[in-house]
């Protein structure tokens, strides 16, 4: 029983706390400040916006 009580109480306190800390960290480090910039993160100079990267089928390989 003691192990279970430990897990349950630990989870109930720790998980929401971890979620809140993550949210606080995100706002304090400006993760949500510039959504347009964040949306560009998968792209870079080598594979910029506008470049298709998976043209394989249809005899039109690129």
């Amino acid at each position: 029983m003691s192990v279970i009580a430990f897990i349950l109480l630990g989870s109930v306190v720790l998980l929401p706390a971890a979620g809140l800390l993550a949210l606080r960290w995100a706002t304090s480090t400006g993760q949500f400040r510039c959504p347009d910039k964040a949306a560009l993160l998968p792209f870079d100079e080598v594979e910029p916006v506008g470049l298709e990267t998976d043209r394989i089928l249809g005899g039109n390989r690129r």
Binding site: V3, I4, A26, K37, V49, T53, D54, I56, L57
Partner: protein
């Protein structure tokens, strides 16, 4: 603190060190990152695909047994209950989870903009993982199943798996800590959450159900809290993280609304974990527990609709590209199926619907709409993108790609649509006291045969994919073939290398 991150940074290979971690400006080139991921990601993909083939055979045996019970009836280790359970465990833990880890590794490195760190750690995790699944599935076939759904692997197998999950979580945190890109893309939110949630879910369920079991209906509650969250907090976030990365990458257009994507993540984190008790509607649980889960299921419409709107509007004007990109085909199929599976799930959670559909093939159809049409299709799409980049070779056969896509796309539609309809009719018949039980069983037979046909189509698709992957690997080891520069750099001209 400085010492700690310096110690971690020592894990970065050679010249990646100079820029020095977060915002150090030393972001690794995509081609360098892809090459660094080759061995560990291939380990996860190849072993995952081997389990997919095993799971497909087990699935076909289970499916045939439901309409032709005499099939393989002389082999006691292949009873329906053994085979079905072995199918679930091979495809969930052997296949889907391992491909998820491979995709997570690659996405984390790419989005953190660093080459893969600690390859030894991740390789050990892979070895432990496959050992755990082999011991677990072997134990199930030998009759050692725990009889707890989604946790059927015997007690002697699960600690091995737990070690592996823990190592993967540690690796992800180290990679995150060392990232060269300070900002997080929405996919990283999903991935980080998933790799931390899963060991916690798995560990808690193991302790409460196998090591120090709770009593009575609490067992069922913990069981479905776990099983539901495997779907909602492990597979779903990894599937969505992939869609959020690959659709924009393939079409070359950023996601429609980044705000919506973040809202989708936080609302999923808030509502999904309350959903588990909707699997026990009508069960002997306090009514309020089930009601809370039903309410949370309906609340899931918020993340589901945000994701659907975002994906749809990102794709608007780009649907023509489905013709050329296998990744996009699988991803869009998966994204649409995510919406459909979720809407079907929300309906099945409502008491009046569950009264009809629970204990019928409708639930099996929903399970495959979610785990196959959504999740597996997204993972196939991701592998189509990742494999040529980490092996630096092009897909050898476009014919096999088409066979794969059409085999599994038609197969899963033929599986899910008839079984959903049949399950509903089966439920109304079961609820009618005037209908004999045997008549209900008879009614299901033709539909179950149709499912076996669908399974054969799916199996053909799987074989086509595995052949293409095998061929790709053969090319990788042929020294005279030049690497394909074009797919790594995005250059537009056609390169004859590898032909």
């Amino acid at each position: 603190m400085i010492n700690q991150s310096q110690t971690l940074r020592a894990l970065l290979p050679g010249d990646a060190l100079t820029g020095g971690g977060i915002d150090g400006g030393n972001k690794a080139a995509l081609a360098e990152i892809d090459a660094s991921c080759r061995v560990p990601v291939l380990f996860f993909f190849l072993s995952g695909l081997a389990w997919l083939l095993a799971g497909t055979v087990l699935a076909l045996v289970a499916s045939i047994k439901l309409h032709t019970p005499g099939f393989l009836a002389g082999w006691e280790w292949l009873t329906f209950s053994n085979v079905r359970t072995a199918h679930l465990n091979t495809v969930i833990y052997g296949f889907a989870s391992q491909i998820s880890v491979g995709v997570t590794i690659w996405l984390m490195c790419r989005l953190c903009r660093i080459p893969l760190v600690a390859p030894g750690l991740i390789t050990v995790a892979n070895l432990f993982y496959n050992l755990g699944v082999t011991v677990g599935v072997g134990g199930i076939l030998l009759g050692d199943s725990t009889a707890i759904e989604w946790l059927e692997m015997p007690r002697y197998a699960t600690p091995i798996l737990f070690i592996s999950y823990a190592l993967i979580a540690v690796w992800t945190l180290v990679t995150f800590r060392l990232r060269a890109e300070r900002h997080l893309y929405v996919s990283q939110w999903y991935l980080l959450a998933a790799v931390l949630w899963f060991p916690w879910l798995y560990g808690t369920a193991q302790v409460m159900l196998l090591i120090e079991p709770v009593r009575g209906v609490v067992q069922a509650a913990v069981n479905w809290w776990f099983a539901h969250n495997v779907l909602g907090l492990w597979f779903t976030p990894i599937g969505l993280a992939s869609i959020y990365y690959f659709i924009p990458k393939v079409i070359g257009r950023p996601i429609h609304s980044y705000y919506l994507s973040v809202l989708g993540f936080w609302s999923l984190a808030l509502f999904y974990n309350w959903n588990g008790m909707h699997h026990l509607v009508g069960g002997p649980l306090p009514a309020w527990m089930i009601t809370v889960s039903i309410v949370a299921s309906v609340m899931m419409l918020i993340p589901v609709i945000t994701v659907a709107i975002n994906h749809h509007f990102t794709m608007v004007g780009h649907f023509g590209k489905l013709k050329y990109s296998p990744t996009l085909r699988f991803m869009v199929f998966g994204a649409v199926s995510y919406t459909l599976a979720s809407l079907q799930g929300v309906a099945s959670a409502v008491r009046s619907v569950s009264e009809v559909t629970h204990f019928t093939h409708h639930t099996i159809a929903h399970a495959h709409l979610g785990m196959y049409a959504f999740f597996t299709m997204v993972m196939f799409g991701a592998m189509y993108y990742i494999l040529p980049r980490i092996t630096q070779r092009e897909w050898p056969s476009t014919g096999l790609i088409s066979l794969h896509f059409w085999g599994v796309a038609l197969g899963i539609v033929l599986y899910v649509v008839p079984m959903s309809i049949m399950g509903f009719i089966q439920g109304t018949m079961l609820n009618d006291a005037a209908v004999r039980f045997l008549d209900v069983v008879q009614f299901t037979l033709p539909w179950l045969k149709l499912r076996t046909l669908a399974g054969l189509l799916l199996a053909a698709g799987h074989v086509a994919f595995v052949l293409n992957v095998g061929w790709l690997l053969v090319r990788m080891f042929e020294p005279y073939r030049k690497p394909v520069v074009r797919i790594l750099t995005g250059e537009a001209e056609t390169v004859a290398a590898g032909k």
